[in-house]
Subunit: 131 residues, 2 copies
DNA sequence: GAGGATTTTGACAACCGTTTTCATTTTGGC
DNA sequence: GCCAAAATGAAAACGGTTGTCAAAATCCTC
């Protein structure tokens, strides 16, 4: 029985950026869905375990989730204003991480890379200028 | 009056890797210091604000702190077994992040990069093998 | 040096996101 | 229809962090 899980997955697929669990929960309630917060958390965890969504922690400790188009390893370029997210491949970074790791005798290298910026539409110079 | 803050800073300086607030607090109490958990949190925040320590979030939402040798931008290579941390510079990554960002019209690019691995002394092949 | 304002401290409570509990409901098999 | 297994969700528990507030330490002025 995965209809709730699918519903949760759908919300994420329709979203441009990362969403928090509470956020997803609120939206589902708005859409009239009868679902509990617990179930949303469980669904998100299941999806994350299946590798169907990406998870990361915000600076204030919230977990945020995103349904990613590609299931291969990739990173995110996130607009810090509007949250819009672009998936980016980074072979250069992968190689760099590997190199840095083995250079220091480390093995089984993994890495987390997130890039933040202000996207074109949110750029201050695109709107009224400054100060 | 910054003697507590200095004490906290000292703990971090003597530590090889990232430490959590509660961790630092526990150690200070062990050393006989009379300090409250609240104060440790405040000290760590102050140090982080001053850029004297680096902060990052673990996967389970805990904030961890580290006194870094260099005050210029750098990244960390962390052993997932023993927590040993090496500071690494990564001009290649900086450039990559910038490139990726501007390629998509993003400005004011920042990034977070952490590399994890198993260090030489913790490597399974260095110890008894098996399974 | 005394007196008072200001800052720092720390015990405790409040918060907030997340997880667990557990009774109820739903589902699937026979 | 009936039972067992799984899913659900309300509420409580949890854990790290932050806020509150009174007491203590410190600084400044006279």
């Amino acid at each position: 029985m995965t209809t709730r899980r699918d519903a949760v997955h759908d919300i994420l697929r329709r979203s441009a950026g990362f969403r928090s669990a509470q956020d997803v929960y609120a939206e589902m309630r708005l859409h009239g869905a009868k679902i509990g917060l617990t179930t949303v958390y469980r669904a998100l965890q299941a999806l994350a375990d299946n590798g169907q969504v990406d998870v990361l922690r915000t600076d204030d400790g919230e977990s945020v989730y995103r349904a990613c188009a590609s299931d291969v390893h990739h990173h995110h370029l996130v607009c810090r204003k509007c949250g819009r997210t672009v998936e980016v491949a980074g072979p250069a970074v992968e190689r760099w991480a590997e190199a840095v790791g083995s250079e220091h005798g480390f093995t089984e290298i993994t890495h987390t890379v997130e890039v933040f910026g202000t996207c074109a539409s949110c750029s201050p110079s695109a709107a009224a200028g400054g100060r």
